[in-house]
């Protein structure tokens, strides 16, 4: 590398020069004001580039990527028996339908997969590309598929948030006035979000994120605590057209989930805590939000 070159200036800015090389560049800068201007311009352009890409890491990650990172596609490939069940092309109503029992087995087996295989299936159902044994079965299966996808996404966002540690992605950070934070996040959602107070459980509200769950916007509320036996926890609140269901336990890899639906809203409390704690906190949340 020539001592007096753009390469030397850029490497100097990036802190990549050793002692002797650094001294050469500093002497050059000292001697020539034009070089100092050039260095300043190069530094400024680097700052601009960083700024131009800074916000991308704060964007909600599409569910399909969380599913891909969770191995949903591979799991589906590794289980051809389950995959066979999903007939992803239009069939005539007169075509012989697969026995409903086989569908049930396939769904139960695939329900353990941490992915959106069935999320996609839900879409196919909705588009009429699939024709199971009966309309009632179709409705039931579509509901199961949509639910699985929803929970996969909720678990995926939990992992994303927790793994980020101190660099946790928060769209609306908690302030002393939490109502302001919730108002901001609610602006992007079809309904107003309310904040459960979980301080009695030692959980502090860290902030909220706007996420996309199963293709629809939802709020992810993040709670943290020093007690590693309990937290962190996230609560995803989204809209749902499915009928109400009571609190139900599900597990995705090492994430425990308690989810329920109430009056057009779907809730999923996610964490790695003991199911006992999770159950108690979920009940508290439901009671506070009048969601039971």
């Amino acid at each position: 590398m020539p001592k007096h070159s753009d390469e030397a200036l850029v490497a100097y800015l990036d802190g990549e020069l050793d002692g002797a090389e650094r001294h050469h560049v500093e002497a050059w800068l000292e001697a020539d004001p034009a070089v100092r201007d050039r260095l300043a311009a190069l530094a400024q352009s680097a700052d601009l580039v960083r700024s131009a890409y800074a916000d991308i890491v704060n964007e909600p990650v599409p569910p399909r990527l969380i599913a891909a990172a969770s191995g949903a596609g591979r799991a589906a490939q590794a289980a051809p028996q389950e995959a066979e069940i999903l007939v992803l092309k239009r069939q005539s109503r007169t075509a012989a339908a697969l026995p409903y029992r086989r569908w049930q087995v396939g769904l139960a087996a695939a329900a353990g997969l941490f992915g959106v295989v069935f999320g996609g299936a839900g879409t196919y159902f909705g588009m009429g590309l699939f024709n199971p044994a009966s309309p009632a079965a179709e409705t039931r299966l579509a509901a199961v598929a949509a639910n699985n996808s929803w929970l996969d996404n909720a678990a995926g966002y939990y992992k994303l948030t927790v793994n980020a540690g101190d660099n946790m992605l928060i769209d609306v950070p908690a302030t002393s006035d939490t109502s302001e934070a919730l108002q901001k996040i609610s602006q992007s959602l079809p309904q107003q979000v309310r904040l459960p107070d979980l301080k009695p459980w030692g959980l502090s509200f860290r902030g909220a994120r706007l996420v996309v769950v199963d293709g629809r916007p939802a709020a992810q509320l993040v709670y943290i605590t020093d007690n590693k036996a309990i937290g962190p926890l996230t609560l995803v609140i989204g809209a749902s057209k499915q009928p109400d269901i009571p609190r139900t336990f599900e597990r995705r890899q090492d994430v425990n989930l308690l989810y329920w639906r109430h009056q057009g809203r779907a809730y999923a409390l996610a964490g790695q805590t003991d199911i006992g704690w999770l159950w108690g906190i979920a009940n508290d949340v439901a009671w506070q939000l009048d969601a039971i």
Partner: protein, 198 residues
């Protein structure tokens, strides 16, 4: 009727309703991958130049990473390994696109299908900077993203790109100088960016 459950009434132990546990190593691998997604999307955005193409790239990279998880060496940098996979897939895509052009396809940029979009974007200072990055040759663009945006050292970037450190140094210098010239020629970009920040 609303009521609170007492904690003592709840089950005391976690219950695995799936009936099976995921392989812990595989679960850890997926966790790392999910945590990397925001940075992978950013890196891919710099390479692909648009959100949809970038996400396709990241999705392919995730699938390839999971298929080759056994090739990842514990103790080495996971982010560098993933950046390398993204970059490799992107280069493959560029090559495939070149082949299609030779086969007679008209390149999208020549058709100018997204020109109106580009013009709108160019009104925004930060988008204009992204366009300037997009105009860089692929190897310079990738190096700029790895070092200047993702903060890798020259040595780490050299491992990702599979080239000597000296090559990274020269690619980066050419990229930064070309970028600065583009921004200067663009007129007012830096002023606009300052205003945007203000």
């Amino acid at each position: 009727m609303s009521f609170r459950w007492k904690h003592a009434e709840a089950p005391a132990r976690p219950i695995d309703h799936s009936g099976e546990r995921a392989d812990p190593a595989s679960a850890r691998f997926s966790e790392q991958l999910i945590a990397m997604l925001p940075k992978l999307r950013r890196f891919a955005r710099g390479l692909a130049g648009n959100a949809a193409g970038a996400d396709d790239l990241v999705q392919s990279a995730c699938e390839r990473a999971l298929a080759r998880a056994h090739q990842f060496e514990e103790g080495t940098r996971f982010d560098s390994w993933m950046f390398r996979i993204v970059q490799t897939i992107w280069i493959d895509q560029l090559r495939a696109r070149e082949v299609r052009k030779e086969d007679g396809d008209v390149a999208e940029e020549r058709l100018g299908t997204d020109e109106p979009v580009r013009r709108i974007e160019a009104r925004l200072a930060l988008s204009e900077i992204r366009l300037a990055v997009e105009n860089l040759p692929p190897d310079q663009r990738a190096t700029l993203m790895l070092v200047t945006v993702e903060g890798l050292s020259y040595k780490e970037a050299a491992v990702v790109a599979g080239v000597p450190v000296g090559t990274i140094m020269s690619r980066l210098a050419r990229a930064r100088v070309a970028l600065q010239q583009q921004l200067d020629a663009g007129g007012g970009v830096r002023r606009s960016a300052k205003n945007a920040e203000a």
